[in-house]
Symmetry: C2
Subunit: 408 residues, 2 copies
Amino acid sequence: MKFLKTIRVEELKQILDEIPRITLEEETIDLDLAFGRVISKNVVSAIDVPHFRKSRMDGYAVVAEDTFTADENNIISLELIETIQAGDKPEKEIKKGQCSYVATGAAIPEGANGVVMVEFTEKHDKTIDISQAITPDTYIVKVGHDVAKGGTIVPKKSMITLPTIGILASCGIEQVKVYKKPSVSLISTGNELVPLDVESLEMGKIYDVNSHILKKAIENAGCEVNFFGIIKDDLESLKNAFNKALSSGDIIILSGGTSKGEGDLGPQILESHEGLEIFIHGVRIKPGKPLIFAKINSKNIFILPGYPTSALSCYYVFIENFLRRMSGLPPKEKDSKEFELAERIYSTVGRHQFKPIKIKEIDGVKKIAPIQTGSEAISTLFYADGYIEIDELESIIEKGETRTVYFF
Amino acid sequence: MKFLKTIRVEELKQILDEIPRITLEEETIDLDLAFGRVISKNVVSAIDVPHFRKSRMDGYAVVAEDTFTADENNIISLELIETIQAGDKPEKEIKKGQCSYVATGAAIPEGANGVVMVEFTEKHDKTIDISQAITPDTYIVKVGHDVAKGGTIVPKKSMITLPTIGILASCGIEQVKVYKKPSVSLISTGNELVPLDVESLEMGKIYDVNSHILKKAIENAGCEVNFFGIIKDDLESLKNAFNKALSSGDIIILSGGTSKGEGDLGPQILESHEGLEIFIHGVRIKPGKPLIFAKINSKNIFILPGYPTSALSCYYVFIENFLRRMSGLPPKEKDSKEFELAERIYSTVGRHQFKPIKIKEIDGVKKIAPIQTGSEAISTLFYADGYIEIDELESIIEKGETRTVYFF
């Protein structure tokens, strides 16, 4: 065991930031399923986009030189030889004295080197009058203007957004190579926990909340979740479940079992493994002091407090961006804004507190109000709009002081 | 046809805001699939949470009156009659002079009305020494403290977040009633468009991009998408596809077909329907002028420009929050920040422009830089960080001026 101590919030964040990314395998998936995934290999286009010269406007494709002397007082008349709509293949080459109609997006016929907008023309039976001079290349989108054949269009490690889907589709790319999602093994422990399908609760029992909120939270961070069930608080059952979880997952998240009155099961289970490094056991925060972060060889292990509000707070503050980094996703920047306190808030000295708060409008001004329930109540987070940070050394924040609210 | 005109951006936004929400049916789904969905019926808890009195601390459940005289100089000794861990059912009632060990979260035995923290006790063989006085209710979480039986816990029209999943799970609720997703029929039109599975492109043809980006964008706004394929630009084919789309969807989105050189197919298709109201035909914006919004009875119809950059810009500015409102989701607030222009940007007078821009760091300062390609290139959006709005009456914004960037 390397070290074992209660540390400050910033120290834990730094330790987590320095953990190297796990090595993820690749998989090939359909473009339509790729939103939010991370490209594992530079994508190169096999084609130019567009792969033909294209008109930017509705107009007439001409030999630009034919128009050089044209203006309102010197109309030039050209022979109309073809009408080319978007999607049509031009059949005829333009020679001096000739033109073809081209719609926006239509292919430019051979021989033409410019387009006169329809607004500066007049159509007769078989001829077109031109009243504007154009320079070569006017209103022509060149081959490869958007994407050049052979060039890297989307570099490795990019997250796929809507415009990424757009540019890949424009190159005719139907499938993409992406990183597999990190696999997270999730365990809920506690003799008091029962699954939702149990109809009536006995005295002392409560429904398991953490597996439901953590499962979705972990998926939202780009990971795949395997749930190993609700495990009893006894060393044998927990060891068995933990060993299975360890062999199948890159990351193991266990909620509960950190701070039991009669013995700390989490650390006992970890201790039996070779290659164990416990980086943190306890962080000076509230809610959620009994957080453990450890590694067994390349596997990352988090043991979270059992109370759902504590577990989810720890998840938001420490684990969410750790998982996003492992998945290859950009960190989530917390939306934040400053507000005044509507009333005094108390905190425990020696604990860096993430206090869930509400925003309350008082005489038309939005202010920070505390929530009366604590980490024992899941409704605390339900009614919270966000949280404020309270430093280890503060015991009171006075009414009227200004704090940054981080929104959920 | 009611009216048909080119309008200003703000007018269109207002028209869209005033369209009544479509009536959505309900469906019952598993809690684990409910994240991001919208509750269709007030959820009432059938149980109190907790449904038993619970200890907030590791300690001893006592009759508070027994401790009233206790302090460091006056140790009180109580008989230990039971050890109650979280999840255990207490077997014995506490009488005066007795106590039971209770772990955090464990049920409080009958007869007890307070908990003395373990820190203020000393354990002997069968007795516990107490060195602190407590008042009644100390460290006891009352029945229904978190959720009261019979009360509405999650009101109708709430979007399901992680804390909502938590509070529902804590009440043992496995399934929830939610609104069905609005159904959007999507059509891509254009003779030039081919699907991604076509291996090699003929002259004049391009891959269909809009169906891929719009499909995912619409799903992200909480809707279900039925794609009706890539339809040729002829009145008969388009009429057939449109009629199918109209009968199966609440909202119909058609991209392309708004501004063809040789005739505007979109309006022609709409015109053959009874109950048609065209609210907008053309908005004074760039990119994406040829936008149509119409209704046929209760169905909402958008016809978007064919260029992917124009289609997606129109979607972001007008349609995204319209669809979110129809789904029951809160509007997406665009992340925005002010920056200085790194160089002069030109615009077309008479068009309200949403100009995709990049953020470029120049001498350590982040500034707004234009993107050289236009709406004909999908790479424009791919390289953009966001957009700025340029008013109808502006033709130039000078280097050094400050603008709000709306991030994608």
